[in-house]
Symmetry: C2
């Protein structure tokens, strides 16, 4: 089995990805603050030889936690504790270029990469939630374009910080008394429009050199950013055609930026409802939809589309003409996904809420293990995906079904590894370890 | 055994606390970036029923790493991985109020407290190293007084963030669909001279409510700060008289601030060289001193005292009249400790370097286990200490000697626990769990 292999991450979300997951009897809601629950999940994903576990994040409390399990687990601490309970699986933390100081963020990732022996990945976000600004002394959330400008400068800064100790800088020769070769440790002396950082970093270079750069924005700015920096891209698509178009566009942009398109993996999200028959899977999906609380879902819809609707509107058509397409909102990639659903499927409001409750705009697939595997394979072989970010509707059971029933089929078809062949996230993703840009040419 | 018990922390430093520890044949220098080495250390300290492990930190690379193992382990990630390998021992992270955003820091500690089930402590520092400023876009390191003003405001902000979810706010009732009681989650709406933070925090309240507040500055500003906020104080004293004076002063300040002096533990640093005879202990100490590199030590002396000396000066007296007592330096508590040594002992430059190499100004004790225990007991019973921050000259062996030979003597004398009686760091320190300041009075 030497053909092209797909990559699989487990996207971890407290309770699970369905909006009402925490209400499902199979979800371990009493354990959602227990690190052991997340360590168990990561161990299961590692037993299935998944590439990585992935944690979303944002530095603010979402608007309405009354009805949904929307608190936040701080990813660096959480993943460090998970690293201690696992050996191989990659550890991908979301962190904001808008609301971190680059020196602090560079240290957190360097340390995570050291302590996990090379398993750190960074999901680079600029933070979309406007309520974050008020937690950081800002009167207003910076505009989309401004956030991306800072993100580019931020990436250059932290990359140089991670490179600031060359690999050979740590000597630790007890006899000569030389601890570090200071000729191989460099200040970065960055003075840009938004950031000023001298360096060097205060830790030796890490096993992977840098964390794997992951990115998830699909807006125009987001794609341009991904083309320049990303090594893996998380994305949301409802249809094969949309996935293919995005895949082709991004790979072309990567090539145009002078990079190898094979070294940028495109990983759409997928939320699988699995049953031993299709009917059983549909019944399971329906069981989740019945747990939805419309008051909450309508508020989510308002956030994404600007539509203010009440419960009396649930069984009428979505009033497409009232969708607010202006301003910041129109830039968001999730906005476009939802608009496409409305235009394509002409759903009632309730149907739309059910569509979105599954995985916040990511693709929901409902069927038997064979049917799910068929879907993944189709996207993988027809130019829409290099792998998937798996978003189980509930945890941990929803992941176990995938690992126990879908993964073996993918293996039988030669599409997914049976065991790890390397030790770092870069190894799993087939990405090279970058040299330090300061490396001496002796 | 119900008498007053002393408290012991293990202060972890890569390789050990003696300046030349990394060169000592017994130090595991090849493991100083290996999380397993630190997890082993914490497990040993836990087996000895120590109150906590403690990590220093600073967001900059110290000036000279050529001769000394002075890189930095990022404490939040490192302690999270240690939490996963231990059950009971406290986890104390140093973090700067000058170079963190309060919202980010509040999240990191809340998460560490959740994942350790209530073992987090915060060593609150304002960061003394001036080179940090250039890593955060500042033209100059903020002055001492200015840093402490920000620190006070910062403490009020993060305390309110940790209190912003009342204990009962997390409901997670699957039947009613109420995840959180939003009447018990509060914005903090802070608008102060230096910080503006709305909140609430994005995570439920933690097992300890807040991390234990630890503080280490002994300057005038530092003492005033400790009197108001600290629950444990790390401090450096060379003589019993100095330790007693500090202890009496700080406890009086705590009482004057309207707080219970019994709930502020004073824990001087102590670095023990242990031998089965006094001669053996002295020989061990001498062995370390021979590993010192004067070029490095003189640079350290320059940093602390402003004295520029070269190797030819080593065997002459310390030129006390050239010490620079002006400016920022004179505020530092370490400065005063070193000045006292010079005035009291009239050492040669080399002797002074040896005195300081042990533990950067902390007290070094050299002797048999009985002699070390006598010293600890004397300070404990005569109003100089509630316990100690143990700083082994080298790791891990230097700690093992203390745990295996000194701790049993302390136990025989009824001075130290034989096992944990609680599960949180607050339990170990005998500190109460604070109520949220927003708690409803139903």
């Amino acid at each position: 089995m030497t053909g092209r292999q797909l990559h699989l991450n487990l996207f971890v979300y407290p309770g699970g990805h369905h909006e009402a997951a925490w209400r499902y009897h199979g979800s371990d809601v009493e354990r959602i603050l227990d690190i052991g629950y997340y360590q168990d999940l990561a161990r299961r994903a590692e037993a299935a030889a998944f590439d990585g576990v992935f944690f979303a994040d944002g530095p603010a409390l979402p608007d309405n936690v009354r009805y949904a399990g929307r608190f936040r687990l701080e990813p660096f601490t959480w993943l460090s504790a998970i690293a201690a309970a696992t050996e191989r699986i990659g550890l991908i933390a979301t962190a904001s270029t808008t609301y971190f100081e680059p020196y602090n963020l560079a240290r957190l990732f360097a340390s995570l990469d050291h302590l996990s022996r090379g398993r750190a990945g960074w999901n680079i976000v600029t933070t979309g939630a406007p309520q974050a600004a008020a937690n950081f002394g800002l009167d207003a959330h910076p505009a989309h374009a401004e956030r991306y400008e800072r993100a580019g400068e931020f990436l250059d800064v932290v990359t140089r910080l991670w490179d600031s100790w060359e690999d050979e800088a740590l000597v630790a020769d007890q006899k000569t008394g030389v601890f570090a070769d200071t000729d191989r440790i460099h200040t970065i002396d960055h003075e840009g429009p938004r950031l000023k950082v001298r360096g060097p970093l205060n830790t030796p270079r890490t096993p992977q050199g840098r964390p794997v750069y992951v990115q998830a924005g699909s807006s125009e700015d987001g794609r341009a950013f991904a083309a320049r920096y990303a090594e893996a891209v998380f994305t949301a698509h409802q249809t094969l055609a949309s996935g293919q178009a995005f895949y082709a566009d991004l790979k072309a942009r990567v090539a145009a930026a002078g990079r190898d398109p094979g070294q940028v993996l495109i990983l759409p999200g997928i939320s699988p409802f699995i049953g031993s028959t299709e009917a059983e899977a549909r019944a399971l999906h329906e069981e989740f939809n019945e747990l939805i609380q419309p008051a909450y879902s309508l508020q989510q819809l308002h956030r994404v589309l600007g539509l203010e609707l009440d419960e009396e509107a649930l069984d009428g058509p979505v009033p497409r003409e009232l969708v607010d397409t202006g301003g910041e909102r129109g830039n968001g990639s999730r906005f476009q996904v939802v608009l496409d659903i409305i235009d394509r499927e002409r759903p009632t409001v309730r149907q739309l809420l059910h569509r979105l409750a599954g995985a916040r705009g990511h693709r929901v697939v409902v069927g038997t293990p064979e049917q799910i595997a068929d879907q993944l394979q189709e996207w993988f072989v027809s130019g829409a995906a290099d792998g998937f970010n798996v978003m189980p509707p509930w945890l941990t059971g929803g992941f176990d079904l995938f690992a126990d029933h879908v993964v073996p089929i993918l293996r039988d078809r030669g599409l997914f590894r049976t065991e790890y062949t390397g030790t770092t996230l870069r190894d799993h993703y087939g990405l090279p370890r970058p040299d330090s840009q300061y490396a001496h040419r002796d």
